[in-house]
């Protein structure tokens, strides 16, 4: 089982750091899955996380100049690691002017991801900073816990409003209430509502647009038969929503959410080379 990768391009490094920063804001510990072509940051829905789960997928070719991976076995050519993304974020934070960043999986005393940053210096040789990030290797028999979540059978799918706006609205609402209701319909309307003993606040968004999904057999999805004005809603933990929005450092190319009434809200944020899915369950 081996893994080594190298980033030489500063823009790629920057981009990668931003992805890691976003992940670090969403999860204290998560699983990194490495395959030949992709990296995945996975958080599976345990009670400890408050039931949220995350699936973030990156194409390694868009970030790394070199990427070599040998999985656990030939027919299971993948590596699953448990790590604290904040450590990776910190390691990359001061690497923004680096000549090269190499990441390698090692096991000197315990399994680590060694991030070696080569920095420019006035002397003849570069400065090297190494960060040994402890990781846990996840054995093959547990890999099933980390399968890609399927898109739920949602009631409404709608594009999100401009994330910056949504973020500032949610941040203010966070001070007033612990939970927030997201409701949306198939006419491109979404409301964010909070209600306490003293006050209730609703922010209305319209003309958001609804993405069309085709189901596997090629025919239109079942939401076709749904009353376009009817709202699907879910009450979720406002802090989780705020974390998701606060972690976004760049505006996604596409941002949408799928609401399963009273059950779960599934957020999909797509950038050019990164896709992030985040599930927030409804509060009982």
């Amino acid at each position: 089982m081996r893994f080594r990768a190298k980033i030489v391009d500063l823009a790629c490094l920057n981009h990668f750091s931003r992805v890691i920063n976003t992940i670090a804001k969403l999860a204290k510990t998560c699983t990194l899955r490495l395959t030949v072509g992709k990296l995945y940051f996975i958080l599976s829905d345990k009670i400890a996380n408050g039931g949220v789960s995350m699936w973030c997928e990156l194409c390694q070719g868009n970030f790394f100049n070199e990427f070599q991976m040998e999985g656990v076995a030939a027919e299971h050519n993948e590596i699953y690691l448990e790590l604290v993304p904040e450590n990776l974020s910190r390691a990359l934070k001061t690497a923004q002017s680096a000549k090269a960043v190499k990441i390698k999986l090692t096991n000197k005393h315990y399994p680590c991801l060694r991030v070696a940053v080569e920095l420019p210096s006035l002397s003849s040789s570069s400065r090297i900073v190494t960060h040994d990030i402890p990781v846990g290797v996840i054995p093959r028999r547990l890999w099933n816990d980390f399968r890609e979540p399927s898109v739920p059978d949602f009631d409404v799918s709608i594009y999100l409003p401009v994330l910056k706006t949504m973020k500032s609205v949610v941040e203010r609402m966070k001070n007033l209430s612990n939970s927030i209701v997201i409701e949306a319909n198939l006419s491109g309307e979404m409301n964010l509502k909070i209600e306490t003993d003293l006050v209730s606040v609703t922010t209305h968004f319209k003309d958001l647009g609804n993405p069309s999904w085709t189901s596997e057999d090629g025919c239109q999805s079942s939401t076709q038969s749904r009353d376009p004005e009817s709202m699907a809603e879910a009450r979720i933990d406002i802090k989780k929503l705020q974390q998701l929005l606060a972690g976004q450092q760049v505006n996604p190319t596409k941002a949408l959410c799928n609401i399963v009434s009273k059950r779960i809200v599934h957020f999909i944020l797509l950038h050019e080379d990164v896709s992030l899915q985040y599930f927030i369950p409804a509060l009982v």
């Binding site: 448990e82 390691a91 005393h109 002397s123 003849s124």
Partner: protein, 388 residues
């Protein structure tokens, strides 16, 4: 200085005004000596040339100079006056438009605060522009308490975050920075173990050094002996002395003749032995998802706290010591490490060492000369009243 202690010691001498501070655990000491030339007027003593010393609360003194930008704009002259019959230290700011601000600070008389150190006795020294060192420490988190400095193969100098004994090694991120020899202005490193010292006070000095654009020299010796940072220019002499973590194992072994350092080389070929690791994991029955087998014992040198078994300490004590003697009172920092006790648990009065250069950090009230039973209470720095 305020990063070190809560009290500012003012000591006028013939060679200039010395401002000093020490921290509560006596593991950090700094002095800034301003030569008479620095001042427009410098009169260290009264008509009888008696020199008064005093200490004031750091907060009070800093309060006078609160806003640096506005001071630079408005203050023409600053007068600091201490006349023993008066019971106030007078700091007078002569500002624009005829405004004079006079601050009368209460002070306490004190004995001379002097850490015992001698840069000549330090086996190793490094000198680098402050900028290089500042750029080096930026890679470590602000909250990091201690950092380890050492020399590696190829003349490279390394800085590494220190992982405390209590922290689980397999869960802590380790950051290490390697600097090439030619980044330094001078490198004179003796073979030996790396030293560990507190980063907070060092960062404070670095900020000052960067602002004044002076090169910083680091003098150090074996672990346990203090590390001395110096900055010099024509009118200013700065000294920062920090205790270093003592290393009982290395103090009982002589430094190796061929100078093999304990630090691993920075190389691209890291041990990559994951196949056998995976086999070990798959074949044993693990419950938890991460399934990390217990890590092999670390070759980390961990200093033993003073409260270790008396039996362990006895092994290292020289014959002169009485078995079962309670451990020497050590200097503790917040994390409960023993600092500044270079000779580990050996008795402090050894005939071969001259009294000034004991492994003590501060000149103490211990009687010089002949060995004797270790004092039950060691005074590591004189209290301001001279009593303890």
């Amino acid at each position: 200085l305020s990063r070190i202690g809560d009290e500012l010691y003012l000591e006028p001498t013939e060679s200039g005004l010395s401002l000093r501070a020490v921290n509560s655990s006596r593991s950090a000491f700094a002095s800034f000596l301003f030569a008479p030339l620095f001042f427009q007027l410098y009169e260290p003593g009264g008509p009888q040339r008696q020199l008064s010393r005093c200490k004031v609360l750091m907060k009070s003194f800093l309060g006078v100079f609160r806003s640096l930008p506005s001071l630079e704009k408005t203050v023409g002259k600053c007068l600091i006056l201490l006349k023993p019959p008066a019971n106030r230290l007078v700091v007078q700011l002569h500002c624009k438009y005829g405004v004079t601000k006079t601050h009368n600070l209460t002070f306490q008389e004190c004995e001379r605060l002097q850490a015992v150190f001698d840069t000549q006795r330090c086996a190793s020294s490094l000198c680098a522009p402050a900028r290089v060192l500042a750029e080096a420490v930026v890679h470590f988190p602000q909250t990091l308490a201690e950092v380890t400095l050492g020399a590696g193969p190829g003349g490279k100098i390394s800085l590494r975050n220190y992982v405390e004994d209590e922290a689980e090694p397999s869960k802590t991120m380790v950051t290490e920075l390697w600097l090439a020899e030619d980044e330094f202005q001078t490198v004179a490193v003796a073979p030996g173990s790396p030293i560990t010292f507190c980063l907070k006070e060092f960062r404070g000095l670095l900020t000052f050094a960067e602002a004044s654009n002076l090169p910083l020299t680091i003098h150090y010796d074996v672990p346990g002996r203090p590390v001395v940072f110096t900055l010099d220019d024509a009118v200013l002499e700065v000294r920062l002395v920090l205790a270093t973590l003592s290393d009982p194992e290395s103090s009982s072994q002589p430094p190796r003749a061929n100078g093999v350092s304990h630090l691993p080389a920075p190389s691209d070929d890291f041990a990559d032995d994951l196949e056998s690791y995976m086999i070990a994991m798959e074949t044993s029955a693990y419950e938890e998802a991460s399934g990390v087998p217990p890590s092999p014992t670390f070759p980390l040198r961990t200093p033993r706290p003073a409260e270790s078994d008396p039996e362990e300490e006895e092994e290292e004590e020289e014959e002169g010591a009485v078995p079962g003697t309670p451990p020497h009172k050590k200097v503790w920092d917040g994390q409960g490490h023993a600092w500044g006790q270079g000779d580990g648990h050996r008795p402090l009065l050894t005939p071969t060492l001259s009294p000034q250069f004991r492994s003590l950090f501060f000149g103490s009230v211990l009687t010089p000369g002949g060995p004797g039973p270790a004092p039950t209470q060691e005074v590591l720095a004189e209290d301001s009243d001279g009593e303890y």
